[in-house]
Point group: C2
Chain length 357, copies 2
């Protein structure tokens, strides 16, 4: 196995084709195809001959040619909408995304598929293979997401992680409505004395933001002794945006506008940033203000104090999305699963007096 000179141009080494195998075995390409794929009728003797020739030549069917003919590539794509907004990869605090990708990739591999990471496939000039996949997973679609339209037009099965809030007919999504989660978090903080609440929500139109907002409003409706304010903070502001937000709150407090008793920030980076901003401004967390996050992230775990959060279980979401998609590709109609998040109580909220064991 000679290697080309370092940096030399791509070796023109033509991989052997089905024609080469046919010639080597002294049969037609039809017979080779049949022998290798166990189709048609091929005598045992001929089949062995073909297998030997294929092995001798190191033949591996060209997946592109096969894909052209069969319209199957063995590839599923994953569109991470969060990436499309963030614009750039953020090295810290986006581990939800990372875990999701990892879980989806491994699940796909386990099922004999490969996972293709793509950016918005609706963009013109996208020369790549994004529209030639067997199926597509879209994570956190925005309202009326055009990716769903494009895939449907092409007849490519698509499932989402988190529903499309503008598309009630689209039911092939997994995730959780987020209602229970909001009730649990707000309820905990109420039980430990909070009455003035602030919910900090991102600016994207995805299901998570919308459904969480609705859940918070409904909760406030059901708890008239509590007061709830809503603020928007763009996802792309990240941790630093949270810090500024927290400091601004503290500054306003010195000017007479009272601090809320409890803050529920949906994004982990925001929550951790807010805690940091408040603490730096001398506000006691959780003594004066309690803070909780709607999505666990590394910053929540590493924060001082650590931030109470919800684990949305990206590993499970990734795996279940792949399995649902494969079912759809096979024409199945297995129902989509809900994935209930896990509540993680940490230091940034107060412990309930008579809590669980």
């Amino acid at each position: 196995m000679q290697s080309p000179a370092p940096g030399s141009a791509r070796r023109p080494a033509r991989a052997s084709t089905i024609k080469d195998v046919a010639a080597h075995a002294g049969v037609s390409i039809t017979t080779v195809s049949h022998a290798l794929n166990n189709k048609g009728t091929v005598s045992e003797r001929t089949k062995q001959k073909v297998l030997e020739s294929a092995a001798a030549l190191g033949y591996r069917a060209n997946a592109i040619a096969r894909g052209l003919r069969t319209n199957r590539t063995g590839v599923i794509s994953l569109v991470m909408r969060p990436l499309d907004w963030l614009g750039e990869y953020q090295p810290v605090g986006v581990d939800y995304f990372m875990r999701l990708v990892g879980a989806a990739a491994v699940s796909a591999l386990d099922e004999g598929f490969t996972l293709l990471l793509v950016r918005d496939p609706t963009r013109e000039g996208n020369q790549s293979i994004t529209l030639a996949v067997d199926g597509c997973i879209i994570a956190d679609p925005e309202a009326g997401d055009p990716v769903i339209d494009v895939m449907r037009e092409r007849g490519i099965p698509i499932v989402s992680i988190g529903r499309d809030v503008a598309r009630d007919d689209f039911t092939d999504w997994i995730g959780d409505p987020g209602t229970e989660q909001a009730n649990q978090i707000l309820g905990l903080m109420r039980d430990t004395g909070a009455r003035r609440f602030l919910t900090v929500i991102g600016t994207q139109t995805n299901a998570w933001n919308k459904d969480s907002l609705l859940a918070c409003l409904a909760w406030a409706e059901a708890n008239p002794d509590c007061e709830l304010a809503i603020e928007r903070l763009s996802e792309s502001e990240g941790f630093e945006g949270g810090v500024r937000f927290g400091q601004a709150l503290a500054a306003q407090a010195t000017e007479g506008r009272p601090l809320p008793d409890a803050i529920y920030a949906l994004t982990g980076r925001h929550a951790a940033g807010i805690v940091d901003g408040l603490v730096r401004a001398g506000v006691d967390v959780p003594g004066r203000v309690q803070v909780a996050s709607g999505n666990d992230s590394e910053q929540c775990r590493a924060s001082v104090p650590t931030v109470t959060a919800v684990n949305l279980r990206p590993e499970v979401l990734g795996r279940e999305a792949v399995l649902l998609l494969l079912n759809r590709i096979e024409g199945g109609s297995e129902p989509a699963k809900l994935v209930a998040p896990i509540f993680l109580e940490r230091e940034s909220t107060r412990r309930a007096e008579h809590g669980q064991p």
Copy 2:
């Protein structure tokens, strides 16, 4: 835009082809191809007509057919050898892998490629597109890794992250020899009083394990007042394996076999586990034993005490690997970059008396 009934089989909706566009515009398919790709000579009038027809029909060239003809797919693959060993996705403590994938994906997307995550492409029966990519990145290849042979045979450019220790002629890799890193860590612990050292290395034959081992041995050679023991611990043992290892060390100490003064565990999960095992067994870290990790991970950051570690900068590795690969695909010979790791001093090692500012 009607949607199919939920769960209905894939809609047979045939996407429009170049033939449809040609018919619609009243020209030949050659002309369509030329007009859309700015090749050949097409009058401005005809070109406009073609563009209009293409837009009207929502035409997007079939990437598979194009790939068959041009032998270019716009896809690069990433083989994570660690995944092949671990066998299963580990939700915690493999954030090095996750960050690498994320960085590589985003870098590829920025350059107009998509990233395909694949498992060992040398395996028989791998029906997928893994051998039809434009290039391949292999992370942490093992000694004489067969993936490199397969890709070379097919003339597919390949670059690695970390060298192949059994292949000196293969220079298209990025990373770091790990020598400086070992010297720095062992030196720090020596400077703070340690004399009896223990290095804990994984069992894989990749460059990181091998080069780190050599670096440690060389360091011991150069520091004759120090004593160095080597132990192997399989990567797949993870955090729990580290815990057991640490507890075993502590148990042996009560039986008269003295504890080392300093432990250098290459794998972050091992290091954090060892700290946990030692602390649980009542050993003071860093008072009695110092511990450092060769690869930062979330467990290192979240451990109590936090674990001194080295940030191998997976974000940079992922991006540089993609850029190097694209250069090779274009036939370039730009030299590969070294990516120097960053030393992160934390609580599990003692502070040097007269350290840096």
